[in-house]
Every structure is written in C-alpha cells, then in structure tokens.
Symmetry: C2
Subunit: 139 residues, 2 copies
Amino acid sequence: MPAPRINSIVESCLHSDDLARSTRFYRDDIGLRLLISNERMSVLSVADKQVLLLFLRDGTHSPVPTPGGLIPPHGGSGDLHLAFAIAAADFDAWENHLISRGIPIESKVRWPEGGQSIYFRDPDNHLIELATPGLWEIY
Amino acid sequence: MPAPRINSIVESCLHSDDLARSTRFYRDDIGLRLLISNERMSVLSVADKQVLLLFLRDGTHSPVPTPGGLIPPHGGSGDLHLAFAIAAADFDAWENHLISRGIPIESKVRWPEGGQSIYFRDPDNHLIELATPGLWEIY
C-alpha cells in the first residue's frame, strides 16, 4: 500500500549553544519573524509556511509532557546544514546584505542547472545556504 | 536595511550510518520520491517543492569541489528532528500506514490549536513527526 501524502517539511531544526544570540541572528540578520521564544527554543516563521526551530543544545534530551501528549526526546550536535530558497533576482542583494551585516561569505557555487548558492555560517557554525532555483530537479 | 526575502527552507538534512537503509525508509515507507542517490548522499523530493538530503555520516567533513565552486564542509550527529506536514484527513491513514510497515509509534500529541502529531524514529533514531495543521501560528 502506498504511503499517504506528505505535503512539506514544516519544521526544520538547529541546535544552539546560545539561544538568544542565534535568535537575534535569524531574526535580525536573516529577517525571519520570531513567533515564540522561551528558555528551551525559539520558533521562527519562514515565509509563513514553515518554521525554523532553534533548540538550546542539550535542552531536548528529556521528553516534554504536554496536556495533549508527550513530546519525545531528541538532540543534535555538529555543524548542521540547511538551505533557504531565495529568488534569483535577490541573489546580489543577499550577498550585499550579508556583507553589510558583517557575515563572512564562505563560498559561492554556480550549479549546472543554472542556480546559484551562497554559503555562510550562523553563530553556532551551522552551514547555511541561500539557493536560487536551478539546483535540483524540483527546484 | 531589512533582509531580502527568504521564500522557504528548500533543503533539510539528516545524517545516516547506513545510507541505503535510510534511503529505503524514506522512499518506501514514507513515500518520498528519490531524485539522486550516490555514495555521499541521497536526495528525496518532498512534494516536489523541497528536498530531504540524507548524508552518509562523517562523509561531509571535507569541502567538495565542483566546477561551479566549493561546497563547504558540514556534519551532524545525534537524534535530529524534523516534521512533515500532513493533512488532518490523512492522520488516521498515516497511523495505520506506520503500523502496517512495522514502524513503532513513539508518541501522539494533540496541540492546543487543534493540530495533531504522530512521532516515530527513522532507522538512525532521528525523531520524525507527522503534523496536521493547527500547531503553530502559521501552520
């Protein structure tokens, strides 16, 4: 029997040693809208259709009871990676924006299908990419 | 100056000790379409608008040269988390599907805003969630 439908990835997660610093980075430098901020996590809206969850590192290893059920434990370390989609027309503006915010550009890649990516690090050294269409078969 | 626009998170990543096993799980059990599979990574389409990247654990710590530029190093360990969006109407079908595939259901949560989540583990113990709308302000 085929699986029922998956509509999207709605939550992507990073782990941070300093949640306030990381939250400022994604809100003020990257421009995501902060929805929730507490001692355990920050929740930022990505174009009002997905969320980026920033968890305090090692703060998620215990299950979290809620009135509606138990949130299971998880966790992560290392220099994680995620990519944000941007319009091709915004590529140069993003590069200038990163420079103006003092965020070092680690690499730029031009993909065979015509897309372009720009790579930089967030305050926890996670590898963040801004990618224009023309990268994957479906993007 | 405000940041230029972010359109979505287009790449979310997990790390796997056994790429073939993990690829089978996301393709055959979860129903994602496999776009690319090589020794370093598998790329799966999420509703043809995002990709899930599965990386062989510790296989991404060196930069990867491409004709168009250098892909910087990254990596990750731990029991990472991500959530897929599903329709409320598919919640029961998904629960039955997981059971029929022999995937243990670790928890179910009913959220204050009316959404429901079901949690399970992938073969690398990453915490995977299927969530219906009514969870975040924007979902």
